[in-house]
Symmetry: C2
Subunit: 324 residues, 2 copies
Amino acid sequence: MRLRSLRERDLVAAIRREFPAKNKGLVLGIGDDAAVVRSGRNLSVLTTDLLVEDVHFTALLHPPYYLGRKSLNVNLSDIAAMGVKPRFALLGLALRKGLKTEWVKEFFRGLAGAAKEAGVGLVGGDISSAGKIVISVTVLGEAKALITRRGAHPGDLIFLSGRPGDAAAGLRLLRKGFRLGTNAEADSLLRAFLDPVPQIALGRTLARFRAATGLTDTSDGLSVDLFHLCEESRTGAVVEVDQLPLSPALRSFAKDPTRLALHGGEDYGLLFTVDPRKSGLIDGLRKTFECHWIGRMIRGRGIFIVDRRGRRRILEIKGFEHSL
Amino acid sequence: MRLRSLRERDLVAAIRREFPAKNKGLVLGIGDDAAVVRSGRNLSVLTTDLLVEDVHFTALLHPPYYLGRKSLNVNLSDIAAMGVKPRFALLGLALRKGLKTEWVKEFFRGLAGAAKEAGVGLVGGDISSAGKIVISVTVLGEAKALITRRGAHPGDLIFLSGRPGDAAAGLRLLRKGFRLGTNAEADSLLRAFLDPVPQIALGRTLARFRAATGLTDTSDGLSVDLFHLCEESRTGAVVEVDQLPLSPALRSFAKDPTRLALHGGEDYGLLFTVDPRKSGLIDGLRKTFECHWIGRMIRGRGIFIVDRRGRRRILEIKGFEHSL
């Protein structure tokens, strides 16, 4: 849901320079899934997302109920990616003139349902009109412990939750005219795109047991998210491409499922690294959470994929533009 | 900067129903200047604003430096209106393709300057592209004490900081082609609109000395903001229209200065109520802060204005549409 173009990366670097991270109480500023500030004895975790119609979503393809859910859930995914419990949300909403009341009601029904599932309170907001629908959601989480993108070490194992590529395949099916209810296999892909589930319980469990060294969510595409994890941890990585947990539905519908899994984005699974001495902990977690081992962190700054025959090549770092 | 149409008020009521304020830790939900949640021993105060180009501002009239300042400052005004110290800000920004780098740099220079003045850290954000510029700012404040819109009582004195109507007059001059630097009197009106100053120190002082019973900012127009204060406090009010602190510039440039002062909006002063037994405290404050007595709260739900001859009439509750 967040397009991170090269220009954005330049801008973020410029903003970082303009706003030095020396503010009292600031624990972690721009550059992770969420910002962390000290609040008394606790840590507060903050994240915000801006969704603009016809840039980040299209009202034609995204039913308002699912759009309401997703608007909150993509932010909850950022909080999950810190291993933290989300507590409160704020909504900024600009509505087009002529939008039906039914659309607005369904949007709020979706948002309220997602908030209830996560135990999050919608505590404030700002509503206005605009030429396009604009949705801005901010979430506040609270934590005693959390996991950043900065803690991975060479040798750590890389795990992934969820099924990479499914959401990107779902978007492609939507564009081709598929809608929910056509067939079960297509539905699983459509749902992955329309209604991603933030991995809050997994993230919190990883933080509580200090099971992971580095953690992020797969919102921008596995290659881009792994790149961010490596950048912030100052490591490289090797992904065993044949270990990618491609879903049967993705294999049925996608021409190049591996490409979608690596670069598709919008998955909102968790990508995390584990000290090999703690891999027993992960074996335990895997009884409750679907996680797959996909590779390991390495020294240096290279990011590679390796296939079953041991052929290694540089992993291209790119997300697809999801603009519609 | 926030258009609150009747439709928005309906929506807010609908949202309140959809999101019952029973979340653990929620102190004050939708309906005040900002939301308040418990965070350990402290209170956290949260507010968010969404600004859409050609709805809430126009790039042609609003130089990017001042737009950057105002984007943050209108949120800081909401925090000031709780009597609280702002701490951290998040920015969601969507930029038009073709927008000059210079524009973006000036916007951030303004935002960074306003953040520095207020001691606020910009800790995170989300940048993307869109057909129109969209700016979403969220601010987190922290407090031990605060003042809501709910505490005013019949008999309390009403005070106002700042010069109501100046900002609305400034916008009208901008539309007529006036620009900063033309003449000093026009400049004071243009600045009131382009670069409002959030009354953080006054708000905090009112909270620290428990000097005010009710507090809000004048962002929507004095009549609308007073209406909100009365609604939340379940009182009525009488405004002495001849006590409104109309600026000499407003009197020079506006055809109907009182109308702009009552309904113009975008002032970002503070409107607060004081127990008459504490009016001595306010006399002290007035040595440091420019505040004016303008009326008193009354029993019942009527809101009136009264002129020097004692003629009383119902105050029309309306803000101008600032859409450009």
